[in-house]
Amino acid sequence: MQDLLLVRYGEIFLKGLNRPYFIRALVRKIRYAVRGMGAEVWVHDGRIFVRGFSDLDECIDRVTRVFGVHSVSPALEMEKDDFDSICCQAIRMTEGLKGTFKVNARRSDKRYPMNSPAINEEVGYRILTAHPELKVDVHHPEHLVNIEIRDKAYLYVKVIPAVGGMPVGTNGNATLLLSGGIDSPVAGWMIAKRGVQISAVHFHSYPYTSDRAREKVLDLARKLSFSCCGIKVHVVPFTEIQTQIHEKCADEYTTLIMRRYMMRIAERIARQEESEALITGESIGQVASQTMTALGTTDAVVGMPVFRPLIGFDKSEIIDVARKIGTLEISELPYEDCCTVFTPRHPATHPKLEKILEGEAKLDTEALIARALEGTEVVRV
C-alpha cells in the first residue's frame, strides 16, 4: 500500500492535438515543484501521479501551487485482490465525514471478479455500517468515494482545489516591472499563471533606496519564483536618471517622465530576454501616474504590448491576492522604493505630451539609458 497524489489538470483538457505537449510541460513543472522530496512524477492513462514523497501535506502544498494544476487528491494505491482490505481503507478514508456520500467504482480491468455496481454496493454497505451518521445520495453526494480497479486498486475521497492556469513556459515570455510595492508581484503572478515565463526588472536608486529595499524586491521575486519556476531579476541602477529628471524637468511631470524611462529600459531588457510583452501592476486611477491619460503617455514609448492584469482591480482586491500568494507580508516592509523617493506633491493627472517631450528634450536619453543598462546586475532567484 502506498500514498499517492492524483493530479488533475484544468484547461489543458480543452487542447486538441497539442495536448501531450502541455501535459509534458506540466509534468516538468510538477517535477520542479517536488524536487528535493524524493518524489516521482509520472503520467498514466492521461493522468498525472506523484508518489514516493516523505511528507504528504508538503507535497500537496507544493503541487497545488503549480500553474496548470486544477485539483489534487491524496490517494491510496493497493493490491486489488484483497477486497476486504479495500473496504477497510474506504472506511478509514471516510472517517470524520458528515452528510451524504456515494461510492464511484470504475473497473478498467474487466477480469476483476466484481463489476462496478457490485463494488459500489458492497463498499457502500460497509461504509454505512461503520459510519451510520453518513447517508447515501447517488444523485448529489457531498463526498465521492472513488475506487479504481486497474493493474492495482486506487482509492481517493478528498478533492483539493489547486491554483489552475497553464504550465509556465507554454505561453511565451514576458518581463515584469517589479517594485517593492503590493501590486507588481500580484500582476506578475497573474500573468505567470497563464503559462507565461516571467523575468523581472527592478529600478534601484542608491542611496535614496537602500540595500534592504533591493533585498526586499529579491525576496518578493523569490516568493514568486516557486510558482514561476525561477525568475531572472535585472536590477537597474536608476539614481542618475532620477536625479537628472529631478534637476531638469518640471515637478509635476517628474513621475511620468521617470515611468517613461522605466518602460524604455524594461523594453530593451525584455527584448534581450526574448520577451513579447511587459507587465506592470498599474490599475486605473490608483495614483496620478495611473490615470488613463498618464498610462497613455507611458505606453507611447513602448513598441510591445504592455499587460496590466490589475487594471480593473480595487486596491483591496489586489491586497487579497497578495495575501493569498504570500507577497503581502514582504511588500508591507517599510523600505522605500524608487517610485516614491522623489514623488512631487502635485503630479500631473492629465499630462500633456508636449510638456513631457519638452522635459525629456533636456535629457540625453540614449546616454542615460545606455549607462543604466551597462550597470544592470542580473540576479537569478
Binding site: P207, S210, E247
Partner: protein, 382 residues
C-alpha cells in the same frame, strides 16, 4: 576609511573580551551550579563579576541578577517588582526604550494605573511635571539614565529627591543600558532600587547583562525554573557572557568617557562648521546634561535614511534614531515626545561613539556628511 558610529546599537568586543571568550570556550564552560571543582572555579569568577558590577553602579551591598541583557533586566525590574505590589500608580518617562515602554500594557493588565512623565525640549524628563504627578499612590517610577536616541542624561538626583518628598514608598528603576560605565551611577547615594545594564554596549558580548537591586528591594521572578540566579531568574547562567562582561568592565578605564566626550564635541564642531543648518536633538553636546557618546543631529531637508545609505557608501556606519526600532520606520517616539517636528525627526541621524572612536575619524565623518549633504539636499521632495 571605515568608521563605526553606531555604538549605542552595539559595540565591537574589545580584544581582552575576545581572548577571554576563546579561553572560556576551551576551559571555562562548566555549569557553575555543579559540585565539582572546575564548576566551582567558574562560580567564583562569576561572583567576582558581581562585585565589579556593584562597584561600577555604586551599589555595594546590593544584589546582581545576571540576565540575557537590557530588555530582560528591564522587564524583570518592572514586572518582577510590581508583582509584589497591590495596585497604585506607575510613572514611566515618555522617552523610554521599548524594553520599558512596551511593558506598559502588561502593567495595566496587572491592575496598575500607568502615566507618562512628559519630556522637555532637550528630551529629558520635566521635573516640574513629575512633581505634580507624584503622590502617595505612586508605587514605581521608571526612567533611563541616558536616552538612547538623544544622549540626554536624566536628572536622577532631582527625581530621587522628589520621590523622597512626595512618594517615599515608590521604587525607582533606572534603565542604565546606555549609561553604564560611561556616566557615573550612584545607586546607594540616590536610593535607586533597581538598575539594568547590558554587556554588549560596553564592548562585551551579546546575550549578557544584569539587573542590580538594592538590599530590601522586592522582586519576584518572571520566568520559572531551577532558580539559578538566587531564585530571581532561572536558566543555566551564560558564563561566557557574564565573565567576558566582567572583563569588559575591568578593561574600561575611567578616562575613556572624557576621551569619548572630547571626540564627540569635535565631531559636532566639525559638522557645525560645515553645515550651518545642522541642529542637535537633545541637550547641548558640550554640557554635562549630554552623555559622552551620543550625538543626534537633524540635517533637514535630507532624510536620515538617504543620508545613512550615502554614508555607508563612504564606509561610515550610523543609525537613524534607534536601531532597535528602525525596521519599523515610524517617526521616533522619543523625538516626538520632545516636540521635534515630523520633518526634522525624519532627517535625524544618531552618531554614537565608543572607546575606539578617534578625532581623525570625526574629521573624516564630518567631511563626508557635509559633502553628502551638499549633494543630497538638491534631491528632495519638492
Amino acid at each position: 576609511m571605515n568608521v563605526y558610529l553606531d555604538n549605542s546599537a552595539t559595540t565591537k568586543p574589545c580584544p581582552a573580551v575576545i581572548r577571554m571568550a576563546g579561553e572560556l570556550m576551551e576551559g571555562g564552560w562548566y555549569n557553575p551550579s555543579a559540585l565539582y571543582r572546575p564548576a566551582l572555579e567558574v562560580q567564583k569568577r562569576m561572583e567576582e563579576v558581581r562585585t565589579l558590577c556593584l562597584t561600577a553602579a555604586g551599589a555595594s551591598g546590593g544584589q546582581v541578577i545576571f540576565t540575557s541583557g537590557g530588555t530582560e533586566s528591564d522587564n524583570l525590574a518592572l514586572l518582577g517588582h510590581l508583582k509584589t505590589r497591590r495596585g497604585g500608580k506607575v510613572l514611566i518617562s515618555s522617552v523610554e526604550h521599548p524594553a520599558v515602554s512596551a511593558c506598559t500594557e502588561e502593567i495595566r493588565r496587572m491592575g496598575f494605573a500607568v502615566a507618562e512623565i512628559p519630556a522637555g525640549k532637550d528630551g529629558r524628563i520635566d521635573l516640574r511635571q513629575l512633581e505634580q504627578m507624584l503622590d502617595e499612590e505612586t508605587v514605581m517610577i521608571s526612567v533611563m539614565q541616558v536616552n538612547n536616541e538623544t544622549g540626554g542624561i536624566e536628572p536622577l538626583e532631582g527625581i530621587a529627591a522628589l520621590r523622597n518628598l512626595k512618594a517615599p514608598k515608590a521604587a525607582i528603576h533606572v534603565d542604565g543600558v546606555q549609561g553604564f560605565l560611561r556616566v557615573p551611577m550612584q545607586m546607594n547615594r540616590l536610593e535607586i532600587q533597581s538598575y539594568s545594564f547590558s554587556g554588549h554596549k560596553i564592548h562585551g558580548l551579546k546575550g549578557s547583562g544584569g539587573l542590580i537591586i538594592r538590599k530590601d528591594h522586592a522582586v519576584r521572578p518572571v520566568q520559572y525554573g531551577g532558580g539559578q540566579e538566587k531564585n530571581y531568574r532561572s536558566g543555566t547562567e551564560n558564563t561566557p557572557g557574564i565573565l567576558t562582561m566582567g572583563e569588559a568592565i575591568r578593561d574600561w578605564k575611567p578616562e575613556y568617557s572624557d576621551t569619548i566626550r572630547r571626540t564627540k564635541i569635535r565631531l559636532w564642531s566639525e559638522i557645525k562648521n560645515r553645515i550651518s543648518d545642522a541642529v542637535v536633538n537633545g541637550p547641548d553636546p558640550e554640557s554635562d546634561l549630554s552623555a559622552p557618546h551620543i550625538l543626534n543631529v537633524a540635517l533637514e531637508p535630507v532624510r536620515s535614511q538617504t543620508m545613512l545609505f550615502a554614508l555607508e557608501g563612504d564606509g561610515i556606519l550610523v543609525s537613524a534614531g534607534s536601531a532597535c526600532a528602525s525596521r519599523k520606520q515610524k517617526i521616533s517616539p522619543v523625538l516626538k515626545a520632545m516636540g521635534v517636528s515630523v520633518s526634522r525627526a525624519d532627517c535625524s541621524i544618531r552618531f554614537s561613539l565608543g572607546r575606539y572612536s578617534t578625532e581623525d575619524e570625526m574629521v573624516y565623518v564630518a567631511e563626508r556628511v557635509a559633502a553628502q549633504y551638499e549633494t543630497l539636499k538638491r534631491y528632495v521632495r519638492r
